[in-house]
Amino acid sequence: MKKTIASLVTGAALFLAAASFVPAYAGEFILLQSTTSTQNSGLYDHLLPIFEEKTGIEVRVVAVGTGQAIKNAGNCDGDLLLVHAKSAEDVFVAEGSGKQRRDMMYNDFVLVGPSSDPAAIKGLADINAALKQIAAAKAPFASRGDDSGTHKKEISLWKKAGVETVAHSGKWYRETGSGMGATLNAAVGMEAYVLTDRATWISFGNRAGHEILVEGDPDLFNQYGVVTIDPDHCPNIKSAAADRFVDWLLGPEGQAAIADYRLDGQQLFFPNAENGDS
Amino acid sequence: MPILPVTAERLFVQRNGRALLDVEKLTISGGGTTVLVGPNGAGKSLLLKVLAALHQADTGRVLWNGVPPDRQRYCRFGMVLQTPVLLRRSARANIEFALRAVGCNGSEARERAQSALEAARLLPLANASARVLSGGEMQCLALARALATEPDLLFLDEPTSSLDPASMQTIEAMVRSASKDGMRIVVIAHDLAQARRLGDEIIFMHRGKIVERAPTLPFFQSPGTEDARDFIAGKILV
């Protein structure tokens, strides 16, 4: 009995091993731990084929929230990190997981809400004032609540506005604990305000009656950074190929390709690599 | 290693304080057909299962030719359970499975299954699913399967209960013919007329005990106990 079970388990293990070799990806590839907005907006579908065509290197994208992406990369489960939370990225480098962080591109956050606009914030140029009005009106606000780049940004904006959201959590302040898309779906469903990056909003298909109410405040600036992983921390990572991708992204070709990407005639991301080397 | 004689000593089985089986001593040897009779709940089926080593008695022991039963000697032993258990395959495959279990190779199993089906007049149903046969056909098939392996000892637990007369006749003929060929048979009969027809000797059980064991004719003509007399007379025993 014991022997049979052992042989069955061995068989299963062999089968598993064989199955793992079946998939037909033989070429070189790197794994990119990324925030979701760059994926959901279709940017990668635009960029990656160009890069792969040129270098033969396939870039595989795991799109999760910025917090999770940094965590995964810290576990050495990625060759490169592309997120939008500069302070967290700096910590990642300072801790020794990251080798170098560089600016790559930017866009901006927008405050989206129902057209009924219960807090009457439409057209405000000042995000600070808008958030104060939402808090005063106790109008529903959907927060990511997932430690993502957008969530970190939102927290810093509330802090600046002097609103203690923790006290209102579960009342008008609602943390979905989900990705941007899921949070947008929830916000649409409950007529709530929500902070989102512009790229995700433009590519989002389920806007229903929601529209951009506040935009253009310099505080809504959204910087995307690319962080290489330190091979001393993660000996298994494919540093050389990852570096090639970074060089291309931040070089003239990659930057031009980023600027070229348009959805519904709108430019979603603005390259700014030259400005931000740190 | 032969299976006969089968002996039992001080068998005792109880459940919830009630003795289901209480047999001081029993030997099955020689030849012929023994018929087990007795009211429902007398312990007939349980006795056969304990002798067949399908059920372990609480105390006492069963010996096959002087040593405890072992798996290997099941090839010399056949049994048809009260509700025949047929595998989910064709009638033919059921017999072949039994033959291969006792060590026949493929072609031998095929040949012997063929003749077993013939003897049981089951050839027309040979390839039908065993599980869709009628009650009589199932009993016939189960008996044919048990006989096909040519055991030295055969137990039958009410092989004709609730069967039509034609099936009953077929089955009794098969049993008689096997007995004539020297197979030792122990059969539980619910029907006293059948006991008379098949039995060389009768064992009468009541309340888990063997009350009387006698050749068929004397048992029916002059039963040695009050209980046996009442049972033969058709009275209800409690």
């Binding site: 049979t4 069955l8 795991v62 576990n75 050495c76 989002f204 389920n206 | 399908l54 039994a98 390839n127």
Partner: protein
């Protein structure tokens, strides 16, 4: 209602257009889930068979535990497998994270308790019926188990299909260990999750409709195979 109409339209558009991207994720879904079910059967059926016939102290507790594990949350399984396969984890050197193999491992873990518990129940009932007869054949415990598995093969199919249903439908585990990487680890359910997060609800639901149809087709196929096997067994 408009959304539902649009979803069916999307589903038809995807299927009729033989969208190559769709074929790719359908194929990967089937490959991953079927492999997981096959491995889970190899592991789970003997466990079920053992539980069905063996009597030992703690058996009841084990049966209850395995039955309860049928409700394992996929996210938890995904997380555990992620932690094991991560480069920071014990099995990191195997480099299996974000591969179909990782997804197969996670789904196998989800499916084994289902197959073991359902098969155990089926075989226990069957053993009640067959035990004496199989003893009379002089079969050893292994041969008896083998016969029980074969005799119960049609009922056991249902256990395998239940496992397949669980595997093909779950998203929580595969999205964590597979990473939903386009062309590599994107399956039906993770694609649905992605389209939902993009707000493409009609497309997401359309994919969902295709997934359901796929599940029906697989079940129908097994049903037909079974009918054919039963026919040929008695032909």
């Amino acid at each position: 209602m408009q959304d539902f109409a649009a979803s069916f339209f999307e589903a038809f558009r995807l299927v009729l257009g033989l969208n190559p991207g769709l074929l790719e994720i359908v194929w990967l879904s089937l490959k991953v889930s079927m492999t997981a079910v096959i491995i889970a059967a190899i592991v789970g059926l003997p466990i079920g068979a053992f539980l069905a016939v063996a009597r030992f102290p703690g058996r009841g507790l084990l049966v209850v535990t395995i039955t309860a594990l049928m409700g394992l949350p996929p996210v938890v399984v995904g997380l555990v497998v992620y932690l094991l396969l991560s480069n920071a984890g014990a099995l990191g050197p195997l480099q299996l994270l974000y591969t179909p193999t990782a997804m197969i491992i996670a789904q196998t873990i989800l499916v084994v308790p289902i197959i073991a518990a359902l098969a155990g129940q089926t075989l226990e009932d069957l053993n009640g019926e067959y035990r004496d007869q199989l003893m009379l054949y002089g079969l050893g415990s292994l041969a008896r188990l083998r016969t029980l598995l074969w005799e119960g093969r049609y009922s056991l199919m249902t256990a395998l299909l239940a496992g397949f249903g669980r595997a093909i439908a779950e998203v929580g585990a595969v999205i964590i260990v597979g990473g939903n990487i386009n062309h590599v680890t994107r399956v039906m359910t993770t694609a649905i999750a992605l389209e939902t997060s993009k707000g493409n609800l009609a497309l997401a639901l359309g994919l969902g409709i295709i997934l359901v149809i796929l599940a029906i087709l697989v079940n129908a196929l097994v049903f037909l195979l079974r009918a054919a096997a039963e026919r040929s067994a008695y032909a």
